[in-house]
């Protein structure tokens, strides 16, 4: 299975791992880490928006968070997805 990563576990960053998923399985998001307890909804919303804007329908996303703000989270997700889809590794 193809996977790609972006980000780090530094404070206020996150490590995003994305994996290909079979057609029709949809977007699966898993979030763990320091902000998960209080920001899960906001983080899921941000990740879904980024995924939708990139036209991806089926993907598994795992986020290890260390306090990333939305703007960082979005950028990391976008980078990971682009890496998965071909571009740089």
């Amino acid at each position: 299975m193809n996977t790609a990563q972006a980000g780090t576990l530094e404070s206020m960053d996150c490590l995003v791992t994305v994996s290909e998923a079979a057609s029709g399985t949809g977007v699966k998001i898993q979030i763990t880490g320091s902000s998960a307890a209080r920001f899960k909804s906001a983080m899921e919303k941000k990740v879904s928006e980024v995924i939708a804007s990139m036209g991806v329908k089926d993907i598994e996303i795992s986020i290890q968070d260390n306090g990333a703000l939305d703007i960082v989270l979005g950028a990391r997700v976008e980078a990971a997805v682009k890496r998965l889809m071909g571009g740089e590794r």
Binding site: M12, S34, S35, A37, R38, F39, S41, A42, G67, A68
Partner: protein, 516 residues
Amino acid sequence: MAKNALGREIPDFIEGYGKTKPFQGAFALKPEGYRAGGKIRCVNSTCTDKRVSDIKAAIAASGLKSGMTVSFHHHLRNGDYVVNMVIDACAEMGIKNLTLFPTALFGVHKKLIEHIKNGVITRIMGSVNGPIGQLVSEGGMDVPVVLRSHGGRPRAVASGDVHIDVAFIAAPTADKYGNICGTQGQSACGSLGYAFTDAQYADCVVAVTDNLQPYPVAPVSISQVYADIVVEVPSIGDPAGIVSGTTKVTRDPLRLLIAKYASELIEASPYFKDGISFQTGAGGIPLAVTAFMKEAMIKKGIKGSFGLGGITGYFVELLKEGLVERLMDVQSFDLEAVRSIGENPKHIEISADWYANPWNSGAAVNMLDVVILGATEVDVNFNANVNTEADGALLHGTGGHQDTAAGAKLTIIAQPLLRGRIPCVTDNVYSVTTPGEVVDAIVTEYGITINPKRKDLLDACSAVKGLPLVSMDELVSRAHKMSGPTDPVATEDRIIGVVEWRDGTVIDVVRQLKTK
């Protein structure tokens, strides 16, 4: 269910705690009646040696039985061996249902979890940190933890809210008749301030030492008139852990900026003049404030009167350089402080009662001009939370937060606006430790936010050119914008922690976390 003065729902009765008195305001409750006291003892010249052979013999001789309350002090911090040693021995002796009444617990005490699970400890009155805090937060104890400040604890003992059956005192040096000294020996920890009340009010006092010296030792912190039993053990603590926990002045530019703003606020205040007294503790930002203040004091030729509370090498330096006249030390944080309190008569040991008890004839905090504190969060009403983390877990003790805030003329909470994504300034704190009525200013990397009720301070700061003043509204909206909306903490109804204000009224309760 009644609402306390801060609008927090406090049940009239809490299972395992009893009837509650709701918080009425920082200085509202006035005590009545007389102090409580321990058992009267009589020891004649037939006893000239209080030593017993080992810790189990000491426990047996103390009369400690299942269901009783045992107390400990935390001057050995993360190096402490005594709490684990005593509770292990109690477990082996079949003693159960103990109430643990420590002045604080540290990571080294996570071993107690097994004794919570096997029923040796059924109640904790005192701070719970790390793994024990997590366990308690998830409902691992049947009885709620009771959190008291450093001043609230001696108040509770002296007023009879808590009766100590046996107090175990970690004694870095002792003699066979129970004179105790904290400044000498391989496990020297300096001040024994938190142990005084326990020594005075417990029915039985056991001195646990690893440095027995000929009678009489000198200097004496806690004297033979309080100690009933002396026991020698191979070691009471790990010296590396005893002086750990002291942070260095931060090198993080963000935190240095916060410290600089806090220092500028102090300089702008009416208290920055000869005779200023202050407490800054051992955190990274407060230590940096001390460093900035020192520069300012030298530059403006100002000399202070005293430094209070937990004492670090930085304060010792101020004393040596004549920038403060005295240090009043309830806990010596590092080797420099331990050395200084042993050698310098201007560096004095004070008890927690003397330091912070609201119900005596006047605590040292009343004489304090400025205190720099931290908090996990502060809200728009300046209420501060130091007990629970963002996820709702009860992970920190109250320390001297309430007492110094209530006593000092200028109480500053210095904190970054965000920790990771988590905002430190919110609409409403998850749990309250210290009410906004005794908090005067919040300092973040965005500037100084003054409690509107301190119009005098606002005027004083406005008169100084270039001081970055930020309104609370602006601060909280900035925090919202950066962090985004938060999910509520998912809790059960059951109360796992009771946060007392320093006068024994309940300022807030903490509920059990829903397990995922």
